[in-house]
Amino acid sequence: MGGYTGEELTAIFLMQGFSGLSLFCVFLLMALGLAIIFGQMGVINMAHGEFLTLGAYITYLVSYLASDTWPFLLDYYFPVAIALAFLGTFILGYLVERFLIRFLYNRPLDTLLATWGLGLILQQIFRSVFGPREKSVVLPDWLMGSFQASDMVDIPINGVMVVALTVVMTIGVFFLLYRSRWGIKVRATTQNRAMANAAGINTEKVDRLTFALGCGIAGVAGAAFTTIASTGPTTGSLYIVDTFLVVVFGGAASLLGTVASAFGIAQSQSILSFFLSGSMAKVITLMTVVGILMFRPQGLFASKVRR
């Protein structure tokens, strides 16, 4: 590893590892939503990235309002922005399921095309409303700066915040899916829609809320995203392929697998891109994932039952 001392290498690994962690968090938050929508419902939602973008723009609007109109609120806007980003994308997701997706269950290719079209429409709306230039939010003071772990290691505070948010969301989704009555309904519906209905579950309502929740989580991912990068109309679409990769690699419908694969993919991209170029890092990561999927098409973690 040409010319670096051991101490420098450790620092590089730590800091790249941490920047990988921020990337991991955006991946994971997006993948959580997709794991619910694709893994549980089997809907290929190509517009998922646009829900992230919408969440980011909502955060931008709130921060703009806070910094421009009520400057004294600047310190507190972020939690409000997260809540509004969730709410906005949740509502849009609900409407999309109600008027588009529910006609396309069991037709994966059609959902792919329909949601891709939806994604393009949303992108153009973003471009018309917010303009093609990237927007960045005004961060409150407490999110700026970094936390100096040693002489050479800087850990940015906004990154720590994103990690904390991701942990909370992941645990929340886990409890919703595996420890709540609603989770039983979701998993029963996704395994056998007709039988779940005949067992007494209002499957249409479950589908609608599940899809909306997945979109809402993407909105939260958008809010988190604004603290580490700026937002443009196509921001979300840059992440959609990676996110699908995360979900498929982790094993659809397995939450633990989603976390593990998001971590693996984000870290290898981040650390490799320091030593090689960004595109080489991507090539190596993708080759590895494709290689592993050839031997384990069901993904890293798949539920073990007889079918």
């Binding site: 009555r181 039983i184 998993r187 029963a188 779940a196 005949a198 007494g200 579950i201 499957t203 007889r306």
Partner: protein
């Protein structure tokens, strides 16, 4: 309790059930016998609402023909499908809990585990890893969790060994006593039908061709309908 009037079911353009009218009385077990392909499963699917039907279906005098399946479950019809249809990656407990949705209750009633003690022992196992007989008990438990007034069982003996079939007949009679509900069961195994039925109907090519009391039934005649 549950009645149909001139019920017709079609797959596309071809009609499979040609105008069936039947009534199930309170606390009565009605066995519907017939060979494969005569319309038993189609009839049951239309009764629970998985398949759309023409004609009318009424539950306790209320027309439910337009109701979706989950709404019928809330009105007191529970369904045990042919082939069991468990949710394989859910645990036994979670599978049974899906039936609770119709009642709004939070806890699985004790009598379900008393009827099927094996389910209690296996409640944390994934349903997909149970044997066929255990799965059959579980889906009956799932149906009972919805607290039904009418229990629809579509070929519950399919793929189950003879000694357990006898046990199943006993359990069904016990459930009927315990819960005071009506049972509609489709069947090919004559001995099982005779052990549970108050009334027997024979379905052939989508029509009811024979009907008589269970106790005094002419078994030879029914057997002749079932013979290929």
């Amino acid at each position: 309790m549950l009645s149909t009037n001139d019920l017709r079911v079609s797959y596309g353009m071809s009609e499979v059930i040609h105008g069936i009218s039947l009534t199930v009385g309170e606390n009565e077990t009605l066995a519907i016998m017939g060979r494969n392909g005569m319309g038993k499963t189609t009839l049951f699917k239309s009764l629970i609402g998985i398949l759309p039907a023409q004609g009318s279906i009424a539950m306790q005098g209320n027309n439910i023909t337009g109701d979706k399946a989950y709404q019928r479950v809330r009105k007191g019809i529970a369904y045990v499908p042919q082939g069991r249809m468990v949710f394989p990656t859910l645990t036994v407990e979670e599978n049974i809990a899906t039936g609770l949705e119709a009642t709004g209750k939070k806890k699985i009633p004790n009598d379900i585990y008393e009827l099927f003690p094996v389910l209690h022992d296996m409640r944390h196992r994934k349903a997909g890893n149970l044997s066929g007989g255990q799965q059959q008990q579980m889906v009956i438990g799932r149906a009972l969790a919805a607290d039904p007034k009418v229990l629809l069982l579509d070929e519950p003996t399919e793929g189950i060994q003879p000694s357990i079939i006898k046990q199943l007949a006993k359990t069904l009679n016990e459930i009927k006593q315990l819960r005071g509900l009506s049972i509609v069961v489709s069947e090919q195994v004559l001995s099982f039908a005779m052990a549970v039925a108050d009334r027997v109907m024979v379905i052939e090519k989508g029509q009811i061709v024979h009907e008589e009391d269970g106790k005094s039934a002419d078994q030879k005649k029914i057997a002749s309908y079932l013979a290929v």
